[in-house]
Symmetry: C2
Subunit: 712 residues, 2 copies
């Protein structure tokens, strides 16, 4: 299955006092490493002779053993080249090339009884990855990390697309500013959240997207975050040096390590073309191949769900309006139903009917289980048991009904961040899923973590999220984790992790709204780590239509919502609006019904973070193509070529375009659908409204009957 | 099964401004409760007109809602009397009488929207129990406890038998001093431990045993510690007021509460006779009846084990001498065995052979599973998996071999306090036990707790210990938890909790030694809460006989070791020494082989904390009696009557006595065994050496063949 082409050569360098240097396969990137004064490991990175990372220090500050910061000598250096390819289980492309030059340096602290560590650099055409490695040795077994001291010294006051650094949430609006402006904008940037812990007036999250004044696009993140705490960045806003800032645990420690072990990869994706950033597979390439022998049960999912109606305030997760309940004690049959509980059998059947009628794979139901009356903000340990339905939710009947229509049920495990409680019930909960026909779960981690003092992004939770994913795999269950840590490409190794939330999703359109440019930024930031369950497809953009008290509105046109199914990659995509609304716009909904969620190929046609993105993708194992383009608040013309279509053939393209009078704020539901004929030589100039977009489906070659259609 | 005799009368008092008063059934104890100035709930307790607890404040300081400390009015008061009896599954007596007068007061804070709490007092002949109750109500749902402010104002500078207050260990030597001397002796009292967190220079643990200058014996503890954090006491050493001091969690909070809920019972056992303290069943009576429907699988256990040889340093838990291992990664078959690993199949069979030859029930084996090479002090999360044996330990073969000889294997689950890891594996571990014939587990919590920042005695762990006990019951497994919280009578409700350690056990005889008076104090302190797995029976009192480098010695005579099987009540008793040693002293070992571990009746014949204890017990469902007497470092004569024997019958008593030249330090192995005839009228005056004792077994009526025996 994997095509492996490794050319390997090792060089044991004897001139170790000089800088070590490697170049990317295309020679555009140059990485230098050397030991600076006082024995400090130092690296720099350039792209086409422009400095990306100026000389920057590397090291680990430890708590219980002498630190690994200085006094190093370079005792060995090895290089090798790798060029291989592999096929992801689910993905944007069928085959991914993994082509890099590697430099592995061994660094010895003679003063610490010759204790040594290694730093492994991998230089791809699209950027750099490096990590610390702690080989097993007599004088380095266990140690506690006080702070990782990795620097990314930037070459100027770049434009940044940033979120406040936080140990518990990424659900902030992205701020676009120069780095020198971060401090001034921080206070405003830290909007309220159910759980949040900022750490610095210049603290930033990753993936951090930067654009230099000389036109370089730079993305800093991490890959393969396993058994380590999440890295944020602290900005020295005088010198524009970013320093790693790890998430602490309840007692302030930042990592418990045992050799042999390693840090996650620190990644710097760089190009002079924004489209290259979106096309980068560097983060996936730095993750390990899948550990699963059987992946046949892992499938992409398009789903609807009993969710948006609660998010808007039209319905409730809770069954009764009481202040407090106790699982196993409260008799729900004796409680008065509040009359707004959405997850009732009859209503869920309506969703199942809609899903079956429109080729969805699954139906999510939130609020199906006992405990929602007081689930939030009470630091309640035993908050859910994950197996006890409300009196009005008939698990067996819904399983039977859904199965009869070929629809899978998607489980919901809100943990309320009571993580011990979840782990105590997780086997029983997964077994319950298997017994009742659920093969995927949306998990949630709203609110402060229990055990108290731990953070969403600390090593303790990093371990938990992966525990839950691996445990789910034992039951052949796919996972969609919300409020968990932002992804770092682990879906390569654990492909049942279909998607995460871990950013400000569509739900905020009902909580006051997202910035209009939000979805033109997310693919450059959050999505660099992996798929997002953004839950697009909101057609009723005025929330007051569902809940008169809610004055929020969706900051995009309806067509922009369609385009998101292409621009926001995920093998798990929700059609998030209500069936009653979709039934009013079935012509537009056709795009959601048609669009693929797993792909053979992807072309990033146009992109500029914060402004616009246009992407074309070929459906997995099908001659079908889907194109999505989105704009920020500025109306724009997307230029869409079709050069990826098979040569010499003519296809029917269905174009979903903003209406001429459309705009996200004034007339979001204005759209026009037309069919045209396209070939590989066609080029479409398509107007997009303010907050608008374009969506195109190409499902079939033109036939005689299509002769009347206009050619592009 | 339960004989229930409740006489109930309720009095709604209309004169609520005056003090509420109740008397114990025998009228010796008087409890008064009133609302003092500023609306502060206040109580006092007297015994035969002597003040036990002077006027003392009650209340709860909260973090997130207004405190429950003052501004109270007494809005209701109810009294009732209860006289019933019940039979413990295992115990010191067959039937326990539960006879008390109850006062239930309702306290309202008008300024807090009529928020109310209740305090329930139960006054027994042997003391007082009271607890806070938080009824479900609109204005009191969730709250966080900052501190419980319960006072026990003492009537003078009592003599105290105390341990330093600590959130993580009770493994201190008891200090005997006046309360005014605590501060001066604290520093010396805090000896090193694997995990320890003291909180005050006058902090004390419970059960705290006190003796007033006017001859009152007072014991302060708690009962039914569930979903709450453990209470220590802080001493105001000017005024001799003890105040509750709860164990904090990682962020400093002391309890997360939801109404309806309650605190554990705070207990004050009091008498002018020390023997009454040991006979008290107050703590058990304040616990709930067992929640288990089937208790037929819960049996007392007398056992030997592969343990003492590691404690002494003769053998090791670890299989190999390496610094670091990783479960699932390290290939143990490739490691070089250290040659001192005790838990190997052949050696364990020797223990099984001994157990079978001497009517033991079970064999404990520690160090049987992978991970002991680096199990301690590394704050290692994945430290054990509880199911993977070392290469030299054949689980199946030992199961077969033990079963063929009628012996049960006792599992060992050392958690290294990595509690999440234990919970993750607990189902698998218990299943493994069931599949391999283990029906009991010794669990251990050595070292600092993971999640870091939590303490052994905090609410988080209190919940865990009970989780493990209840989960064990699902698998019909009996639990013997070491380093867990000291017991509070929960073995009534969860009788598969056979015993705990939770004090300085016999192991310290190998770590420098216990005080000679240690075992004359423990029944007045630690054992007030429940059975202890003290692991007596050490015949080879010089540890150097096993490990030349270890100069420790056991601070008792051999006979004292025998007597402990009677004086230290537990339905789980270890014969802790090595079979090779017992085989040299088989005449003395006969007492351990004979002695019962479950009882129909118990008579506390003589007792003075710190000096001596003599107890007689009747074996459960047998006409057999066992008597144990112990002395501290002072040689004494025990006065033992036999009035509990059936009248008019003559029995053969086997008396195990210290040799005339015996002493704990000079000649501990000197003993003499003699048989005499006794009747219910006999009285034995038996000399006990320094650190010595006496043990007597009465197994049969005298027959003609016994004529030649001396009469007492």
């Amino acid at each position: 299955m994997q095509k492996l082409l490794i050319t390997l050569f090792l060089i044991c360098c004897f001139s170790l006092v000089k800088a070590q240097e490697i170049k990317s396969p295309d020679k555009n990137l140059t990485l230098k490493f050397w030991i600076a004064e006082s024995g400090i490991p130092t690296y720099q990175l350039s792209y086409k002779n422009k400095q990306v990372i100026k000389p920057s220090k590397l090291g680990i500050e430890t708590k219980d053993v002498p630190s690994m910061l200085e006094g190093f000598t370079l005792s060995n250096a090895e290089q090798k080249s790798v060029d291989e390819s592999w096929n992801p289980v689910l993905g944007e492309v069928k085959t991914i090339r993994n082509n890099y030059k590697e430099l592995l340096v061994t660094l010895t602290q003679k003063a610490e009884k010759d204790r040594y560590i290694r730093i492994r650099f991998r230089l791809f055409n699209d950027g750099l990855g490096f990590r610390y490695e702690f080989p097993e040795q007599k004088n380095l077994n266990y140690f506690i990390i006080k702070e990782e001291k990795t620097q990314f010294a930037l070459n100027g006051d770049h434009k940044a697309f940033w979120l406040p650094g936080d140990f518990d949430t990424q659900e902030y609006s992205t701020v676009t500013s120069n780095l020198s402006e971060v401090r001034g904008k921080m206070k405003e940037a830290v909007t309220p959240n159910a759980s949040q812990t900022t750490f610095s007036p210049t603290g930033l999250q990753t993936p951090l997207m930067l654009k230099s004044k000389d036109g370089l696009y730079i993305n800093i993140h991490e890959a393969a975050l396993v058994n380590y705490s999440t890295m944020s960045l602290d900005l020295d806003d005088k010198n524009f040096i970013l320093s790693s800032f790890l998430t602490p645990d309840a007692v302030g420690d930042k990592g418990y390590m045992q050799s042999p072990g390693q840090s996650p990869w620190r990644t710097v994706i760089v190009s002079d073309k924004a489209t290259d950033i979106l096309a980068s597979k560097l983060v996936l390439n730095l993750n390990e191949p899948t550990k699963y022998k059987d992946v046949s049960w892992i499938k992409p999912i398009k789903y609807v769900g009993v969710w948006w109606e609660m998010i808007t305030g039209k319905s409730t997760w809770a069954y009764a309006d009481v202040e407090s309940v106790q699982l196993g004690v409260t008799d729900y049959k004796k409680l008065k139903p509040n009359g707004k509980h959405a997850a009732n059998t009859a209503h869920v059947k309506e969703y199942i009917d809609f899903a079956a009628a429109h080729k969805m794979d699954a139906v999510l139901v939130e609020g199906w289980n006992e405990g929602w009356e007081d689930w939030f903000g009470k630091t309640k340990d035993y908050v859910f048991d994950f197996v006890t339905p409300y009196p009005d939710f008939d698990v067996k009947e819904l399983h039977r009904y859904a199965a009869s229509k070929g629809i899978k049920m998607m489980m919901h495990h809100e943990t309320s961040s009571s993580v011990r409680n979840y782990e105590r019930h997780i086997d029983t909960a997964y077994k319950f899923m298997v017994e009742n026909g659920y093969n995927s779960v949306k998990s949630g981690y709203v609110g402060n973590i229990i055990p108290r003092g731990e953070h969403h992004y600390g090593q303790w939770l990093i371990d938990h999220y992966l525990f839950a994913i691996k445990k789910a795999a034992d039951y052949k269950i796919m996972v969609n984790a919300h409020e968990a840590v932002r992804p770092t490409g682990l879906n390569r190794t654990y492909p049942n992790l279909l998607a995460n939330e871990a950013a400000r999703g569509t739900e905020y359109e009902s909580f006051g709204g997202n910035n209009v440019d939000h979805t033109t930024i997310l693919p450059f930031t959050r999505l660099i780590g992996g798929p997002m369950d953004y839950t697009p497809g909101i057609f009723q953009t005025k929330i007051s239509a569902y809940n008169p008290e809610n004055t929020s509105f969706v900051h995009s046109t309806l067509v922009h919502q369609l385009a998101l199914y292409v621009t926001m990659y995920s093998p798990l995509q929700m059609a998030a609006d209500l069936p009653e609304t979709y039934n009013k716009f079935l012509d537009a909904f056709q795009f959601i019904e048609d669009v693929a969620v797993d792909w053979d190929d992807t072309k990033i046609l146009e992109a500029e973070p914060g402004d616009y993105i246009t992407i074309a993708r070929k459906a997995k194992n099908k001659n079908e193509w889907y194109i999505g383009g989105i704009s920020d608040e500025v109306p724009r013309t997307a230029t869409i070529n079709f050069s990826y279509l098979p040569k010499g053939k003519t296809y029917v393209a269905t174009i979903y375009a903003d209406g001429k009078d459309a705009s996200y704020d004034k007339n979001p539901q204005s759209y026009a659908i037309r069919k045209v004929l396209v070939t590989s030589k066609s080029v479409l100039k398509q107007a997009m409204a303010a907050g608008g977009g374009v969506a195109i489906s190409i499902k079939a070659e033109a036939t005689a009957a299509d002769k009347k259609l206009q050619k592009l």
